[in-house]
Amino acid sequence: MLDKILFLLCLASALADERCMPDTPHGFQVRLSIKTALGDEAYVWNENEMFLFRASLAFAMRNHMNGQQFEVSNIIVCNETMRVSFWFIVTSPLDTSQLIDQENVEAAIRQSRNRINSAFLLTDKTLEFVDILPTLATLYTHPTPPWLIVFGVVMGAVGAGIIIMLVSSVVQKKRKTNGKPQDKDDDEETRVKTVENGDAHDGVHNMSFSEDERFTKM
């Protein structure tokens, strides 16, 4: 009896291994680049990490297909390489001979991609599911494009500058036409002033003609 059970188990596991192979139509290839992502803080890839991977994949499947209780044993992994890449397939929890089709697996992974990534401290680029395109985050679109704001500021400043220039030149012109008849009167006055007041208050006092010598020295 035990022999038969053992034989059946070996057969089952052999069957399961045969279904998981490179380029299988039911599974995907996974590639991890731990050293690229973490550098010195990279962890070593071992069986425990693989267990975590299978568990997180089971979690993703449970999230996507409501009601079905996926276990770690439903995730079958094969062809592990030094690169840290491998293939996996997913069996149904109700019937282990049935495999979940690719679309469902892809949808499940897409849905929980973030959670799987953070379980391994990796990103979309360093934890690659080959042939599953990550959903890219769109850049934040501003309600008003920022360039328009800067443009408005500069345009406003320049426009104000032009208005100031035009207004000041008009004001200057007005001042000139008003000030001209007065200028001529000022000329007469200053000339008269220079004649009457010999020395002005600013300027260099010319010592050779100082008024102190009104009284000649004895």
């Binding site: 590639r31 680049s33 731990i34 050293k35 690229t36 390489t81 030094m82 690169r83 840290v84 890449s85 395109l133 959903t135 890219l136 985050a137 769109t138 850049l139 920022p146 360039w147 328009l148 800067v150 443009f151 500069v154 345009m155 320049v158 426009g159 500058g161 032009i162 220039m165 035009l166 030149s169 001209k180 200028d183 001529k184 000329d187 200053t190 000339r191 220079t194 004649v195 020395d199 002005a200 600013d202 300027g203 260099v204 006092h205 010319n206 003609f209």
Partner: protein
């Protein structure tokens, strides 16, 4: 009676009658230094003041205006290309020879004409010989062509400047497509910087025949550029003179900052070494000498009438000989300075591209052969390529096309000139620098100042002769700017860049050679070199050296004739002119006729 307005010294004399006599005697002569100390003004001539020619506030303003005009975008994006194409450091030899033989004498001559005639180009040439007023008119028309298309470059600079105020520079990453699965295809096949320039800035069409609508953002920036240009010339030399303090000096500040930044970049030294290793065999190629002559000629901005216009506002005794030599040397020095910076940036960009290429190859090898991550690193990529090729030849053949084509020399040898250099190559390098928004803002402000400085010269070249004909109108400058703005809107359409290329390549080059050739022949033979000598002696106080005379009479005209013939031959032999069009599907350039 004379009345004096003192600026610094109060001249106190004993006897007011003696004072008046002395002043009458002193007022006869124009001492150059009196412009700073005391300004003499006749009160009864106050009415004539309105018609008296405005002047630069100081000779420094004139020098800075000439520097601002001559040092333009060509120094940044044409000279480094020529240097690279014609043997690096060796190109400096023909460049300096042409500067001495052609550049400085012609520059000197234009300044002399302007300062002597004290009129714009039309009036000056009509005064020299009544039959040759057409030369001045040709200068004005050429300046007009340039004004039409040159400001679009400033509009692009504004566009990039305004877009630098974002947390992620928009030309650093590709925008995502509608499905959120991948970046936009056109962007992915080209590069984000090319996509931003050709698609988002220009929205370029596939051929010159397809005229789409006006790009609104471009048109707004274009309007802003013209408003700023108007603001700088609205009061003539009074306003231009103040603006050039900034436009002439700030680009050097930025270039210096970039020099320091450039040399501290990873791999910059590769570029500078590549540039300065002279390849002397290029000197035997006549194209090298032709290109050196052409570069000097266009870089100094001869023939547009701007130099004549600027120097017509000088004091009669201004020492323009020294200024001509100074400005020409500053212009050439700036070209070399800018090309050192450009080559540092080239070296940085080439090194980054090379290292990215190595990284891609490394990952490809790791993925294909499933090796552990740390077996291949950047240094032993090539060894591993050979090893894997030997051990797994069939598997290697599948990826053979994508490996082994990382070449630093090839990256350095890709030379770019023109707007492509300024807006694509440089902006790509900026995205790789830390704190890229700051560098971007600095860089595009520098481009703006270089461009606006040159524009001021050309606008002045148009306005000055027109103002000589009728009384100065406040609105003349505005009308010219408005006219150029409306016509220039055509360059903001989707095919605008092709029109821009046509204007840039063919609009002014031919005419300028012809104009300056006629100018130098006129001055040397029709006006007479002896008369010209006397005029210079009258202004400067000494006759020009025998060197200048030989240049004006013999060498420069000969050189210009050689250049002119070469251009004609090239034009005829070149067949139908072509232009490069951006193909949206192919994401590359195709040639059209």
């Amino acid at each position: 009676m004379l009345e004096y307005v003192h600026k610094r010294h109060h001249c106190k004399l004993l006897n007011p009658c003696l004072n008046a006599e002395l002043q009458k005697w002193v007022g006869k002569y124009n001492y150059p230094h009196t412009t700073r100390g005391i300004t003499w003004r006749r009160s009864q001539d106050a009415d004539m003041e309105k018609d008296a020619r405005p002047n630069w506030d100081s000779p420094m303003q004139f020098v800075l205006a000439c520097v601002s005009y001559a040092v333009g975008l060509g120094n940044v994006w044409r000279f480094p290309y020529l240097c690279q194409m014609h043997g690096g450091g060796g190109f400096l030899i023909p460049y300096f020879i042409m500067l001495l033989v052609e550049g400085v004498p012609l520059f000197y001559m234009e300044l002399a004409i302007g300062q002597k005639m004290r009129l714009g180009s039309i009036g000056a040439w009509t005064a020299i010989s009544p039959y040759l007023g057409g030369v001045g008119l040709a200068s004005v028309v050429t300046s007009l062509y340039l004004c039409l298309y040159y400001n679009i470059i400033n509009a692009w600079s504004f566009w990039y400047l305004f877009h630098s105020f974002q947390s992620v520079l928009p030309w650093a990453v590709c925008p995502i497509n509608a499905n959120r699965t991948a970046p936009i295809e056109e962007c992915e096949r080209a590069s984000p910087t090319q996509y931003f320039f050709y698609r988002e800035t220009l929205n370029i069409s596939s051929t010159i025949e397809e005229n789409g609508g006006i790009h609104t953002g471009q048109a707004l920036c274009f309007l802003l550029t013209w408003v700023i240009t108007y603001l700088c010339v609205v009061r003539g030399v009074q306003s231009t003179g103040k603006v050039v303090y900034f436009t002439a000096t700030f680009p050097y500040v930025v270039l210096f900052i970039y020099l320091i930044r450039g040399f501290t970049l990873h791999g910059a030294v590769n570029g500078v070494k590549y540039m300065f290793t002279p390849k002397m065999d290029q000197l035997a190629n006549p194209t090298t000498w032709i290109n050196a002559a052409t570069q000097i000629f266009f870089s100094l901005g001869l023939g547009f009438g701007s130099l004549i216009a600027f120097s017509s506002y000088n004091q009669y005794n201004n020492n323009f000989e020294r200024q001509a030599i100074t400005v020409s040397l500053i212009n050439s020095g700036t070209s070399i300075f800018a090309s050192i910076v450009t080559f540092a940036i080239y070296g940085f960009k080439a090194t980054i591209n090379y290292e990215n290429c190595l990284e891609r190859t490394r990952i490809l090898l790791l993925n294909t052969f499933n090796l552990a991550e740390d077996t291949i690193n950047m240094d032993n990529v090539f060894e591993w390529i050979e090893k894997l090729n030997a051990t797994y030849p069939e598997q290697f053949n599948e990826i053979a096309n994508d490996t082994g084509n990382c070449d630093l020399e090839k990256e350095l040898a890709t030379a770019v000139e023109g707007p492509g250099l300024a807006f694509i190559v440089y902006s790509e390098a900026i995205t790789n620098m830390p704190l890229s928004q700051l560098w971007s803002v600095l860089y595009f402000i520098m481009l703006l100042l270089l461009g606006v400085g040159s524009m001021l010269g050309n606008i002045t070249a148009i306005i000055t002769p027109l103002q000589d004909f009728k009384a100065a109108s406040l609105f003349l400058a505005g009308l010219v700017c408005l006219f150029c703005l409306l016509l220039g809107l055509g360059f903001t359409t989707t095919s605008g860049n092709y029109w821009f290329t046509i204007f840039n390549d063919y609009g002014a080059t031919f005419s300028l050679l012809f104009i300056v050739l006629i100018e130098v022949i006129t001055v040397s033979y029709i006006y007479g070199i002896k008369r010209f000598e006397k005029d210079i002696e009258d202004m400067l106080g000494h006759r020009p050296n025998w060197y200048w005379k030989i240049m004006w009479v013999a060498i420069s005209p000969l050189l210009l004739i050689v250049l002119f013939v070469f251009y004609i031959v090239n034009y005829i032999m070149g067949g139908t002119p072509t232009y490069q069009a951006w193909d949206k599907e192919e994401v590359s350039f195709s040639f059209f006729f």
